[in-house]
Each structure stands twice: as structure tokens, then as C-alpha cells.
């Protein structure tokens, strides 16, 4: 009896230790990410929370860090968010519907379209900035305006929105489509009355997440001229600077009041905005998630 139970115990000490070591490595892999996240947040809050006040939220930027605020940048980021939502959602959902419900996947051009979108999703954001610089700012002569920034961010997040919307549309079971077709619904009626209503929660969640990524983007906005001193509220066709660009502007200064403190306070505001959007997305997902 005891011999049998001894036999069931592990005989190879080395194997046990290798297993433990491996497990430790795996846990370390996860821990590095979370530890960095934690340190980053603590560092930012520690340095910047003192300066998160009405001056920061309501005043324009200034050469004096004591009275410098980010009002124009915060407003521009909000405007960008609204414009992005208005531009990306129809275009992204439209493309997703075309690819999922209309396109015949056996055709080469539709396959090419899919690969093209996947590839665009991975093009570096700065390249979109170059596109904006060449075509919108200089080519079209639009100038360094908020609208150019919104358009370039739209192109940047569109692939992500398309991919999210496609997943949401694909999650609607085919039996729903078949049921609707069998009753004599046309393709658009099937899409509009059955598929889209069922896919809306997924589309909304994916779009908000994509949007929050876009609002944190800095590099493409640098190229369409957001790195500028703006002391007035932004307008659609006027100069602008966005919150991440404002943060960069402060980080790039040599004085520690700007570089460390004011930048950190700007980061807190940015992170709070993005966190709120992410929380909204997660709430939407949990509230309306449907299991088929």
C-alpha cells in the first residue's frame, strides 16, 4: 500500500524544480506588466496630482508654469472625440457591413480589401501624420486646423473600428439572417432590422475603445501642426493643440516644473478621460452582452 502511494508521488526532483522555476518565470512575465503599470500610475499621480486644479482645466497655456493651463487642449481633445465618433462610426460600420454581408469572399478584390484593412491597422501612426501633412495641410491647403487633425485620426482608427464592427456583426448567428431571408426580407432589411440591432452593443464597445486609443495619439497630430501655442478655444478650421500634444510640449521643456509636474498633471487629466471612456465601453459590454 505504502509502496503504491510512494510511487504516485513525484520521483523526479529535477522535474519539480524545473516546473517551479518555469512557473516563477511565467508569473514574472505577468508581474512586469502590472508592476510597470502600477509604478507609472503612482509616479504620475505623486508628481502631478497637486497641480490638477481649476487653473489646469480652465486656463490657457503660459510661459509661467504657475498659471499655465490646458483648457484649449482639453477642449480640442473633446471636439476631436465628437468629430471622430461622427466620422468613424458610419464609415467603419458601413465597411464592416459591406465586407460581412455583401462582399463575396471568393472574389479577389474583396480578399485584397480585407488584407488592405488588416495592413492599415498596423501602419505606424506617424505615417498617417505624413499623409495628413502632404495631402490635407499642404496639398489641399487646409492648413494646420482641427478638421485636418480629426480627418487624419479618422483614417488612423478606421481599420480598428472596422475590425471591431466586423467581429460584432459576425457574432450575430446566421440562423437569424436565414430566418429573416426566408420571410422575404431583402438584404438591407435583414441587415438593418436584424443584424445591426443585435450587433450594436459590440459595435459601440469596439468603437469607444478605438476612439480612446485615437484620443491618446500624439505623433500624427504633431505632423498636422498641433504643436503650437493656442490660447483661445479651438474652432473647426482654426489652429489647435490636443491634450496629448500639450503634454508632449511640456515634457519637451527643460524646466522641471513643466517637464515633471505640469506634464504629470496633464497626464492625469488625459488618463481620467480615457479611463472614463474605457469604463463606459466595459459597462456597455457587460450590460448588453448577449450569449447566443
Amino acid at each position: 500500500m505504502s509502496a503504491v502511494s510512494a510511487g504516485l508521488r513525484s520521483s523526479r526532483r529535477r522535474g519539480v524544480w524545473a516546473g517551479r522555476l518555469f512557473m516563477a518565470f511565467l508569473l514574472l512575465s505577468l508581474a512586469i506588466g502590472f508592476a510597470t503599470l502600477l509604478t507609472l500610475v503612482v509616479q504620475v499621480v505623486f508628481k502631478g496630482v497637486e497641480w490638477v486644479d481649476l487653473v489646469l482645466l480652465l486656463e490657457p497655456p503660459s510661459a509661467d508654469p504657475q498659471i499655465a493651463g490646458a483648457r484649449p487642449a482639453i477642449l480640442a481633445t473633446i471636439y476631436l472625440g465628437v468629430l471622430l465618433l461622427a466620422l468613424t462610426v458610419p464609415l467603419g460600420v458601413g465597411t464592416a457591413i459591406y465586407l460581412e454581408e455583401y462582399a463575396n469572399r471568393n472574389r479577389w478584390y474583396n480578399r485584397l480589401l480585407e488584407i488592405n484593412i488588416q495592413n492599415l491597422a498596423a501602419v505606424p501612426s506617424i505615417v498617417y501624420g505624413i499623409l495628413g501633412l502632404a495631402f490635407l495641410v499642404r496639398g489641399l491647403g487646409l492648413g494646420r486646423v482641427l478638421l485636418a487633425g480629426a480627418m487624419i485620426l479618422t483614417l488612423l482608427v478606421l481599420p480598428t473600428v472596422i475590425i471591431a464592427a466586423r467581429e460584432a456583426i459576425r457574432a450575430v448567428p446566421d440562423s437569424i439572417r436565414q430566418g429573416a431571408y426566408a420571410l422575404g426580407a431583402t438584404r438591407w432589411q435583414v441587415v438593418w432590422r436584424q443584424v445591426l440591432p443585435a450587433a450594436v452593443p459590440g459595435i459601440a464597445t469596439g468603437s469607444i475603445l478605438a476612439l480612446s486609443r485615437a484620443l491618446g495619439e500624439t505623433a500624427p497630430l504633431l505632423l498636422v501642426g498641433a504643436l503650437t501655442y493656442v490660447s483661445f478655444n479651438p474652432t473647426l478650421l482654426g489652429d489647435f493643440t490636443a491634450l496629448p500634444v500639450q503634454i508632449y510640449q511640456w515634457v519637451a521643456r527643460p524646466q522641471p516644473e513643466f517637464r515633471d509636474t505640469l506634464a504629470a498633471s496633464g497626464i492625469i487629466v488625459l488618463l481620467v478621460i480615457l479611463l472614463a471612456m474605457n469604463a463606459l465601453a466595459i459597462w456597455l459590454r457587460n450590460r448588453y452582452e448577449r450569449r447566443w
Binding site: 471568393n106 440562423s175 437569424i176 432590422r193
Partner: protein, 292 residues
């Protein structure tokens, strides 16, 4: 709670079941020259991207009959039934060969509109597929997309009555259809189909996902519905075919050169004949349980 009687000789009486319809089962078939042909299938074949799924099927479907398609899995019976309402056209790469005449006109003629076809030829699927909407909206969907919105309430009520579901749902028409039991969901799908007043109802294994009691109710419903409708039913359950069908077609599989399976029609005759004195050995083997 409904209790199932132990002895099979005691008739099961369930709410919503028409006793007359059950009694009608023994009625002899009308003579061939008195039958009205709804579908005349001539040499029909279906291929998916070049692979023949079904080959050379010819048969006639008669008005106010229940016609059953039986056969082992993979014999193409589901593929076949989907030809009658253009559902195969939704699958990229599917091709239809041969002809189906519907009241003497080619169902796959050049100017035939799938929407018009599906309006006249309704379909009930293997798994109940109610839309994620209210019971009322499920039934009203067909009439709405087809523009038959005059007297919609009456139409919905009539359909639910015909599907023997009205008494169970009349107090909760606004409740979600997903809250119904499986059997109720399937009857809702039948009601949904009846609401657009088709001439033909196609049923693709309508009871295969249901328990025996729910199955009995669907079968009784089919008996009742054939007074006003022509019904084609695919079933893997031979007893079900024997119970409900006036005519039965037996399909089987032939294996081609590279192991590809093609469905063929073996025998088509009055149900009694198929089950008691089939003229083909393969049919006999199947109905007696020696094969399949």
C-alpha cells in the same frame, strides 16, 4: 404540468391540439389525376464550388399534401429543400442545375425575384431561430418587411392561432421570444412563417431539437395546416415521416471517385407504400433499419 401516459394506446390530449386533424390521418390519398401539382422538379442538381451535393432529382409535390424527404445524413435532403425558396443562393459558390417548376413556371428563371419566391414559400428551420425581439415583433417581421402592415394586429393574432400558440402567449406579446420554451419557439417560427400567408411551408427537420411532447404538437400542427397549405418536411426520423407525410421521398448517398458524397433520389411514392412495400431494396433496408 403535462404527464405522459405510460400506455401508447391512450390518446395524448394536449391543449391546442385539434382532434379532428389527428383523426384525419387515416384518410386515403386522392387519385393522381385529382392532385394539383405545386412543384415539378426536373433533373435537379446542386453543386457547391464544383462538388455535386445532389444530383438528378425529379419529382412532383402536390397541393395540400405533406411531402416528406427522408434519408441518411449527407444525402442532400436539406440541400434539396433549400432549393425551393432560393436559400442556396445565399451560399457563395452554390449552383443549381436542372429545373424546378412552380405552378408551371421556372423557379430559377432569369427575372424571378427571391423575395417574391420567399413570400409565397415560407420556411421553418431545424433549430428554432426566433429573432431577439418580442413575440409580437417576431410574427410581425415578415408582414412588415413585405409591406403588409394593414391590420397587423389581426394578422399576428391569426398566425399565432393557426400555430396553436395564441393561448400561451396572448398575455405576453411584448415579452422577448427568447424566453419561450424550445417547442413554443418553434411554433412561433411557424406562426412567423404563416403571418405572410405563404402557399407552401418548407420545414427542415422542424422537430429534431425538440422533446417528444413538443414534437407531437408540431406534427399535429402539420396535419392541421395542410388543409390550407402545402407542406414539405425534411426529417431524419422515419416514424415522423410515417406519421405526418402523405408522400415520401427517400434519398441516399453515392460516393464519387475522390470520396465526395453526392445525394440521389432513390424512391418517391405514397408514404404507406414507401414504408410497407418499397420497390427499391435500398429503401427497404433503410426503412427497416438495416442501413443508416
Amino acid at each position: 404540468m403535462v404527464t405522459v401516459p405510460e400506455s401508447q394506446t391512450v390518446p395524448v390530449t394536449l391543449p391546442g391540439v385539434n382532434v379532428d386533424a389527428v383523426a384525419e390521418r387515416g384518410r386515403p390519398l386522392p387519385a393522381r389525376e385529382l392532385r394539383e401539382v405545386v412543384f415539378d422538379v426536373q433533373g435537379l442538381g446542386v453543386s457547391y464550388s464544383g462538388n455535386m451535393a445532389l444530383q438528378d432529382v425529379s419529382l412532383e409535390v402536390y397541393r395540400n399534401f405533406v411531402t416528406a424527404f427522408i434519408g441518411p445524413s449527407g444525402c442532400g435532403k436539406s440541400t434539396f429543400i433549400r432549393c425551393f425558396n432560393h436559400m442556396n443562393a445565399l451560399i457563395p459558390g452554390a449552383r443549381i442545375h436542372g429545373r424546378i417548376l412552380y405552378h408551371e413556371q421556372d423557379l430559377y428563371g432569369t427575372d424571378v425575384d427571391p423575395v417574391e419566391v420567399r413570400k409565397r414559400i415560407g420556411m421553418v428551420f431545424q433549430k428554432p431561430n426566433p429573432f431577439p425581439k418580442s413575440i409580437y415583433d417576431n410574427v410581425a417581421f415578415g408582414p412588415r418587411v413585405l409591406g403588409m402592415t394593414d391590420g397587423l394586429d389581426e394578422r399576428v393574432e391569426r398566425a399565432l392561432h393557426q400555430a396553436a400558440l395564441w393561448d400561451e402567449v396572448k398575455d405576453r406579446l411584448k415579452a422577448s421570444a427568447l424566453g419561450l420554451s424550445g417547442g413554443q419557439q418553434q411554433r412561433l417560427c411557424i406562426a412567423r412563417c404563416l403571418a405572410v400567408e405563404p402557399e407552401v411551408i418548407l420545414m427542415d427537420e422542424p422537430a429534431s431539437a425538440l422533446d417528444p411532447i413538443a414534437t407531437t404538437r408540431i406534427e399535429d400542427l402539420m396535419h392541421e395546416l395542410k388543409r390550407d397549405y402545402t407542406i414539405i418536411v425534411v426529417t431524419h426520423n422515419m416514424q415522423q415521416a410515417a406519421r405526418v407525410a402523405d408522400m415520401t421521398a427517400f434519398f441516399s448517398v453515392t460516393r464519387g471517385g475522390e470520396g465526395q458524397r453526392t445525394g440521389i433520389l432513390i424512391e418517391y411514392d405514397a408514404t404507406d407504400k414507401i414504408f410497407t412495400q418499397p420497390s427499391d431494396k435500398r429503401t427497404e433496408d433503410y426503412v427497416t433499419g438495416r442501413f443508416g
